[in-house]
């Protein structure tokens, strides 16, 4: 799940005909100064970072003329908003607010639901803390969609009535369509505004997107999340993004036992086992299913063996029902060779059964301190072995 910045979110809503105020992205003080020609009158200057609560964090200013816009922009650019460095601001026509509401579409587990409140413009968590009934939630019928009359029911329950009701409900219904067609996992509008003319305006908008749907959204930025500052994590992220095949992920932790696991269930189970046995994993990872192209697998292996904290490595997979074991073991041996890993100092335990196992065992037989456990060895026994061997391994680093 990645969060989009406000400009990208609003461009997608505007493209669907939703009432978004006009806005401009400025990446420099000059940009902000020049915005007066395209966007006259009062503007709101907002730090362009993909998080909520920017008002409270002091990342939103009001400005009118070019000088004020330049000042506001200068004070925001380069600043830090809750861990996000500000490299651009969003200047948006200021809306004359008569009433502010809160609206959010999201998934609770596997079920989409809508949250609505007539107390918008402020932190919804505080609203709910003060009065749990102030925010109405309703499940969404993904087959039927959210008709305007269904949206009216929700807003009536939230306490909205009068001429604003049908206007807000109509926009709510269309926002649900946007939530769906944008492949959003969360679409939060706060505040959803009714202005002095009685028109509905989308003033605050945040969207988190489903990365699995990226193939049908060329309008999404190519990388919505920044790459990891850790060089090994970054290398795997790049391999994952640029090479074909299944998913590869690598997250470094503070321990000393490198884990090469398939991800999914066995990865979770083995990680639990190592911890319970007193071992400390150096990473968690997800490796793609075996294929002829082993670039992603090798990227993960290089990260594991390249981590200076690693003093032992467990190659732990489920009993292979389909995949060939020798593809993984060949990649392992090649990376050990490429990085010049001295396995006599870094014990490796391999628990990998299935097709190609004879070849796999032959490939590792010449490597000292590489323990290819016999058929029938449980994942628990393999985990216990690497914990024991690592505890006895020398302190020096692997790479």
């Amino acid at each position: 799940m990645s969060a989009l910045t406000e400009d990208v979110t609003k461009a997608q809503l505007a493209a669907r005909g939703l009432p978004v105020p006009p806005g401009i992205v400025a990446r420099s003080v000059q940009d902000a100064r020049g915005s007066v020609t395209a966007l006259a009158g009062d503007v709101v200057v907002k730090a362009l970072v993909p998080i909520g609560g920017r008002g409270k964090a002091g990342a939103i200013r009001i400005a009118q003329d070019a000088d004020a816009r330049a000042d506001a922009t200068a004070s925001l650019l380069g600043s830090d908003v809750r861990g996000h460095s500000v490299s651009a601001v969003y200047l948006e026509a200021k809306v004359d607010i008569a009433a502010e509401y809160f609206l959010c579409f999201t998934f609770r587990g596997d079920r989409p639901e809508v949250l609505a409140s007539t107390q918008g413009g402020i932190d919804i968590e505080e609203v709910v803390r003060a009065n749990p009934d102030a925010c109405v939630t309703a499940p969404l019928d993904v087959v039927a969609g959210l008709a305007p009359w269904d949206a009216m029911e929700i807003w009536l329950r939230a306490g909205l009535s009068g001429p604003a009701l049908p206007a807000v409900a109509a926009v709510t219904s269309r926002l649900y369509d946007a939530f769906r067609t944008c492949d959003a996992l969360t679409l939060e509008i706060n505040p959803l505004v009714v202005d002095r003319n009685g028109d509905v305006r989308i003033v605050g908008a945040m969207m988190a997107i489903d990365d699995a749907a990226a193939y049908r959204h060329p309008e999404w930025p190519s990388s919505t999340a920044g790459l990891s500052p850790n060089p090994r994590e970054r290398a795997v992220e790049i391999a994952n993004a640029t090479r074909a095949g299944g998913e590869a992920r690598y997250v470094e932790l503070d321990g000393d036992i490198g884990l090469l696991v398939g991800g999914g269930g066995a990865g979770l189970y083995i990680h639990d086992l190592v911890l319970e046995l007193g071992g400390r994993p150096a990473n968690h990872c997800v490796t793609p299913p075996t294929s002829a192209d082993d670039a992603k697998l090798k990227a993960v292996l290089r990260a594991i063996f390249g981590n200076p904290r690693v003093r032992g490595v467990l190659i732990g997979f489920n009993f292979a029902q389909m995949a060939r074991t020798d593809i993984r073991v060949r990649a392992l041996v090649e990376v050990i060779d490429e990085l010049g890993v001295d396995t006599s100092r870094v014990p490796v335990v391999i628990r990998l059964f299935g097709a190609g196992e004879e070849t796999s065992r032959a490939l590792t037989s010449g490597l000292p301190n590489v323990h290819y456990v016999p058929r029938g060895t449980t994942l628990a026994d393999a985990a216990a072995l690497i914990v024991r061997l690592t505890a006895a391994a020398p302190q020096a680093s692997a790479a």
């Binding site: 998934f107 492949d183 699995a212």
Partner: protein
């Protein structure tokens, strides 16, 4: 008996001309599964492993009695392919693709539920009723190594861990009535509780073994079924992923569903809920047969 599939279940393979579909189908046929044909748009009239290939599910279902369909189409094509299968009257749909967009998965899951169609997956390696039938790659080329015939019903969030459970049970002399990998995604068609209800009603299933992960409310729903006495057969559950609680919330370590910080259960919370309800919570795979014995389930 078994659940979902038995020796008489007839099945169509959507996307049968792909490499994975051909491979799995061959081993399903070897096992004795009654796969009667396949669908591959634009390739109607060809044959795969001696099976007729049709352009549409409607044509396939007009030519054969079809109980089930297994889909090998890509994630981007899953939504249409499931809708096509449902429209053609199939009652059991198995979706193997992973990384199906959440909105697509939510839509097909809801539609299947409304139409009374059983949707297994997405992101499943299939299901097996030992000695009768299997759909999908489950068990690979030698299913008997993992799933001998017996009385244990298995439902797992992970296909790989399902194989490990099969091994652990076999080592202790237990066999399987039906084993189903329900899929590890956040959104699945049938939920763990749906499978558990079917096992409860299946006379040949004597006990139920579950593998769960953090995220979603699947395991909590099973706990509720046991607590309220709707499920009376012994249930043994292994829930992995407790380590995630040591790290920052929202970090995904494994299956897409195994994300904590979305208001759904951590592994330790799920274990507690299950234990409180009367489920035997296994610490390791090897504990599962021990618990079954303790609960009076003979091998």
């Amino acid at each position: 008996m078994s659940i979902l599939i038995d020796a008489s279940t007839t099945a169509m393979v959507q996307g049968i001309t792909g490499a994975q579909a051909r491979f799995d189908t061959q081993w399903c046929l070897e096992y004795g599964s009654r796969i009667v044909g396949g669908v591959s748009p634009g390739k109607g009239g060809s044959m795969v492993h001696g099976l007729p290939v049709y352009d549409t599910m409607a044509r396939a279902c007009a030519a054969h009695e079809v109980d089930a369909s297994i889909l090998y189409v890509s994630a981007a094509r899953v939504k249409d392919a499931v809708l096509e299968a449902i429209a053609a009257g199939v009652r059991l749909v198995v979706v193997t693709a992973e990384h199906v967009p959440v909105h697509d998965a939510a839509f097909v899951a809801a539609l299947a539920r409304q139409r009374g169609v059983r949707l297994v997956g997405c992101n499943t390696n299939g299901l097996i009723s030992p000695g009768r039938s299997k759909l999908g790659g489950v068990g690979g080329m030698r299913p008997d190594d993992l799933y001998p015939i017996g009385g244990i019903g298995i439902c797992s969030r992970s296909g790989g861990m399902m194989a490990e459970i099969g091994l652990a049970l076999k080592a202790a002399g237990y066999g399987v009535s039906t084993s189903v990998a329900m899929g590890g995604d956040v959104v699945t068609g049938m939920r763990m509780a749906d499978y558990v209800r079917l096992f409860q009603d299946d006379p040949d299933t004597h006990a139920i073994v579950l593998f769960g992960e953090p995220g979603t409310s699947n395991e909590e729903e099973v706990a509720e079924l046991v607590r309220t006495g709707i499920v009376t057969k012994p249930v043994v559950a292994l829930i992995a992923g407790q380590f995630q609680e040591r790290y920052s919330a929202g970090q995904s370590f494994g299956h897409a569903a195994a994300i904590i910080g979305d208001g759904n259960g951590s592994a330790s919370l799920k274990r507690q809920r299950l234990r409180d309800a009367g489920v035997s919570v296994a610490h390791a795979l090897e504990d599962i047969p021990r618990w079954l014995e303790e609960r009076g389930v003979p091998p």
